[in-house]
């Protein structure tokens, strides 16, 4: 095969963040018109590379060659002018503006005397959206739309720019099955127009369905670029993980004890939203010595459920929560802490870490009062306690005084889990605990969770509720899996009966009057 000139050539691109080498010497050729998949585990550097390509990150080493000419984007505008658009995983829409205004943001159509021409923009936006099988009004506020439609607005924006190169960063992570197949059709249409697509994903099924070539990244390094026809998903998995995935065997079945937590018809309202609730009539119980998994798409209410159990919900929930047989209603996380509930938050950087503090201070923040008397901190006691925790969890750092930001994602996560273990919780809530954590550290975290519920660290066995955006993880770690869809509990599976397929089916159930997929349904379907 005579290789045509690449439309983008990435040459020895490297990027370091404080404490992390995010990318190292990446060289990739992207051919015109192809769908090139970039895959890798969380934290492999996929998103960083795409941010460089789209001008979001301007400070890096190495070169980009666009159609034979070296370029260096000074910002997203430069990249857009050169024909490169990106659809971010976290969508970048101004929620208070209409769909049309978002599509033409920064490139508003001008009319008479240079005034804004809203009508022309609405019409143009309507045409673009129609082409994408999206039937929302161009005047609808972006914030009121479903995630799938919001994503199409971003794609419409890229189309209106006449981009030759479109980067899609994990576009299906929040979509229902119907929306995914619509996205596939849109991608097909874009390819017919000759648009080159860089498709970031770690879902092999998608990659093999769509792509021509596949580039695998691991730990910021390029592993290999493969032709789809000449490879198998087994090979790609192997390359992504870097070793055979060891089957983690936790030995014999866990023994569950008394009921720690009982939730009855828990609902959280969502004022100002079309759905009206974040959670609706959720009921379940958690026993001592059990790991309960919560599955669901983005926006299904996983995080809201955990926050609510921790007293951190923005709206007041209704329903009953019983902790060890006592009804509780936490108004503040402090009350939850004191009653023995702990929450490790989903977004470590935004909701968990104190970046200006060191490792020891990050571990001790919840238990400072226990170090000394009358509100004083006993520094050496603090350090002793933090040191013990850090040793117990095998945190790799250059010491307790090291900056927390100098640690890898997995070790930062261990520090935060350690912070909560110091409070000796009965119920540990883990919200997507392995996000941005490398494969090796993931296995360590799984073992840690297993040890905690079994109580072989002398902590007497606790109950864990964890969510994850990765189903295999839940299938590995959990005894039972609850599935949420649009705030409702749609299914419960025991470890034996759960499969990825069944869970996905339950997670994409929509609308009223649906039948529970399997097992008993706890959600009342009263509509």
């Amino acid at each position: 095969m005579e290789a045509p000139q690449p439309i983008i050539a990435i040459r020895q691109v490297s990027k370091a963040f404080p404490g992390v080498q995010a990318l190292k010497d990446i060289t990739i050729d992207v051919l015109p018109g192809e769908l090139h998949a970039i895959c890798g585990e969380n934290g492999a550097g996929k998103s960083t590379l795409m941010k460089i390509l789209s001008g979001v990150l301007t400070d890096y080493q190495g070169d980009l060659i666009l159609e034979g000419k070296p370029v260096r984007f000074g910002g997203t505008r430069d990249a857009e002018a050169a024909g490169v658009s990106i659809i971010h995983q976290e969508l970048n829409l101004v929620e208070q503006l209409s769909a049309a205004a978002n599509i033409f943001l920064g490139r508003e159509i001008r009319g008479w005397l240079g005034f804004r021409d809203d009508r022309a923009m609405d019409e143009a936006a309507g045409r673009l959206l129609h082409e994408l099988e999206c039937d929302v009004s161009p005047r609808a506020l972006a914030g009121s739309l479903r995630v799938g439609d919001q994503q199409l607005i971003e794609i419409a924006k890229a189309l209106s720019l006449q981009s030759d190169i479109l980067i899609m960063d994990e576009p299906t992570s929040a979509l229902t099955e119907a929306e995914v197949s619509r996205l596939y059709r849109v991608i097909e249409r874009l390819r017919k127009r000759g648009v080159t697509i860089l498709y970031i994903s770690h879902k092999l099924e998608e990659i093999f369905h769509l792509s021509d070539r596949i580039t695998v990244l691991r730990d910021g390094k390029l592993v290999k670029t493969l032709n789809k026809k000449e490879t198998t998903s087994k090979e790609v998995t192997h390359l992504m993980v870097g070793r055979e995935i060891e089957a983690i065997d936790f030995g014999n079945q866990r023994k569950t004890g008394d009921v720690l937590l009982r939730i009855e018809s828990l609902s959280i309202p969502w004022p100002g939203h079309a759905r009206g609730w974040r959670l609706k009539d959720v009921s379940f119980e958690l026993r001592r010595g059990e790991v309960l998994g919560i599955a669901g798409l983005m926006g299904a209410g996983r995080t809201e459920l955990l926050e609510c159990l921790f007293g951190a919900a923005a709206e007041r929930p209704t329903g009953k929560i019983e902790l060890l047989g006592q009804p509780v209603s936490f108004r503040h996380p402090r009350e939850a802490c004191q009653s023995g509930v702990a929450l490790v938050t989903e977004d470590r950087k935004r909701l968990g870490l104190f970046a200006a503090m060191n490792v020891g201070e990050n571990i001790s923040i919840c238990t400072l009062g226990e170090t000394g008397l009358a509100g004083f901190i006993n520094r050496s006691r603090e350090w002793q306690m933090a040191g013990a925790t850090s040793e117990q969890l095998a945190v790799k750092s250059s010491g307790l005084s090291a900056a927390i930001t100098s640690l890898s994602g997995g070790n930062q996560q261990k520090c935060i889990i350690g912070r909560w273990l110091q409070t000796q919780p009965q119920v540990l809530l883990l919200d997507d605990p392995t996000r941005g954590v490398d494969v090796g550290a993931k296995a360590e975290l799984y073992r840690l969770i297993d040890g905690l519920v079994r109580g072989d660290k002398g902590s007497g066995g606790i109950g864990v509720i964890m969510t994850s955006s990765e189903l295999p993880e839940l299938l590995t770690v959990c005894d039972r899996i609850l599935v949420l869809s649009e705030g409702r509990l749609t299914a419960t599976f025991s470890r034996a009966e759960a499969t990825e397929h069944k869970i996905m089916e339950a997670a994409t159930l929509r609308g009223a009057g649906f039948q529970p997929v399997n097992g008993e349904s706890f959600g009342e379907t009263d509509e």
């Binding site: 951190a312 870490l353 919840c366 520094r379 350090w383 409070t423």
Partner: protein, 414 residues
């Protein structure tokens, strides 16, 4: 990982503090040499006393400003709080002993203490109001304290008129004179009252920030409010403390300013002082993003600011107070620019990027030229040379900044 090693970091004076210490010595040295009276050399005690008084007065409420800034907030109301507290102090005494106050007689320890106590309580009340506005009404701290910055001064002025009209009859006064010897003693014996109060407050703040749970929670709140709340920290209570501390320190400063001027004057006292306090905290290394700051840094920031102001006063001799705001502004910009410079460079940024940088260079040079010309016009032995010196300073700056820009653009194109 042993504790002694862990604590080493806390004792070492960081770069910022060392730089400030050097800057203070350099400025004082230059002033001692250049001042035509050489008052730093011939009469050091008077100079030290003047600076100590001003450092103590500013330092007291700069500590309060720093605590709020560390907690991730901002308190713009300190200047008005000073006027408010001095008015409350004087009004309380007026209410208790109107005749004595009017006849310029001593009011006695009990009444004076009641006045001071009322002023401090007024600080707690204002701090509580701020905390309520910020946590319950969810106003941004900037807006909440901007409202009291404007409101409290006017309130104090009206209150002063109301109380004086009530107690003395007539249409009320805009000021209340205070002749009590206790307050005169405060004013005259700088080393007995002002300075020890400041040092005690500084020691209290130091212990608070470094050795208490509340102190750590202040840093946590400023560093990441969401994470602090989700770690079970009662962020509302921590905020209440921060704003009360700030208002109470300003209230104490208010009593001292009243003593210093023998009058409670709501219209004139403490105008614009809130910015001096914030400036001192920022020069001392507090980050306005919150979560970063030290007590030694704030103290050095206050000392540096006052030494520079005093130095200009020594050089210009008369009418230097009109330059005070300008000096504070320049000191803040220069100090913060230097501390930012390393970070900007490290991230590959430029001090004068693109067209904006090109515009900034003549703007800065022009300002340096004009400021130099204006100030040298008042220096006795430079009389008549102001335009020449100003032009020279402007051109030198222009040359220096242009070279910086050129070097930066060379590096960038590489």
């Amino acid at each position: 990982m042993s504790p002694p090693l862990a604590h080493a970091r806390r004792w070492a004076l960081p770069f910022n503090e060392l730089a400030l210490l050097v800057a203070i010595v350099v400025v004082a040295g230059i002033t001692a040499a250049v001042d035509s009276n050489h008052s730093y050399i011939f009469d050091p005690l008077t100079s030290v006393r003047d600076i100590a008084r001003n450092v103590a007065l500013l330092g007291i409420f700069a500590l309060g400003a720093a605590v709020v800034i560390i907690s991730g907030g901002i308190d713009l109301s300190a200047g008005s709080m000073i006027a408010f507290s001095s008015t409350i102090c004087a009004s309380t005494m007026m209410l208790l002993v109107p005749q004595t106050m009017m006849n310029m007689q001593p009011v006695g320890l009990l009444v004076a203490s009641a006045g001071v106590l009322a002023a401090i309580i007024s600080g707690v009340l204002v701090g509580t109001l701020h905390a309520w506005l910020i946590t319950s009404v969810r106003l941004p701290p900037f807006v909440a304290t901007l409202a009291t910055l404007v409101g409290l001064r006017s309130f104090a002025r009206a209150f002063c008129g109301y109380i004086t009209a009530k107690t003395l009859g007539g249409s009320g006064n805009t000021e209340i004179n205070v002749y009590d010897p206790y307050f005169k003693f405060m004013r005259d014996e700088v080393w007995v009252v002002y300075v020890p109060t400041f040092l005690a407050l500084a020691a209290f703040t130091y212990v608070l920030l470094n050795y208490t749970v509340l102190g750590r929670h202040l840093f946590a709140l400023g560093g990441n409010e969401q994470a602090a709340r989700l770690s079970g920290i009662r962020t509302d209570a921590v905020k209440w403390f921060a704003y009360c501390f700030s208002a109470v320190t300003a209230a104490i400063a208010g009593v001292f300013y009243m003593a210093d001027q023998s009058v409670a004057s709501p219209v004139n006292q403490g105008v614009g002082y809130e910015l001096n306090a914030i400036a001192a905290a920022v020069v001392g290394g507090c980050s306005l993003q919150g979560g970063i700051g030290t007590v030694p840094g704030v103290i050095l920031g206050v000392v540096f600011l006052r030494v520079v102001i005093d130095s200009v006063a020594k050089l210009i001799k008369s009418g230097s107070d009109i330059y005070e705001g300008m000096i504070v502004g320049v000191v803040v910009v220069v100090a913060v620019t230097f501390s930012q410079l390393r970070q900007i460079r490290a991230s590959g940024g430029e001090l004068f990027p693109g067209k904006l940088g090109l515009l900034a260079i003549p703007t800065l040079s022009g300002m340096v030229g004009i400021i130099t010309a204006m100030t040298t016009a008042n220096v006795p032995y430079l009389k008549g040379w102001d335009l020449v010196i100003g032009a020279a300073a402007g051109l030198l700056t222009l040359a220096a900044l242009s070279i910086t820009k050129w070097v930066e653009s060379q590096r960038q194109s590489k």
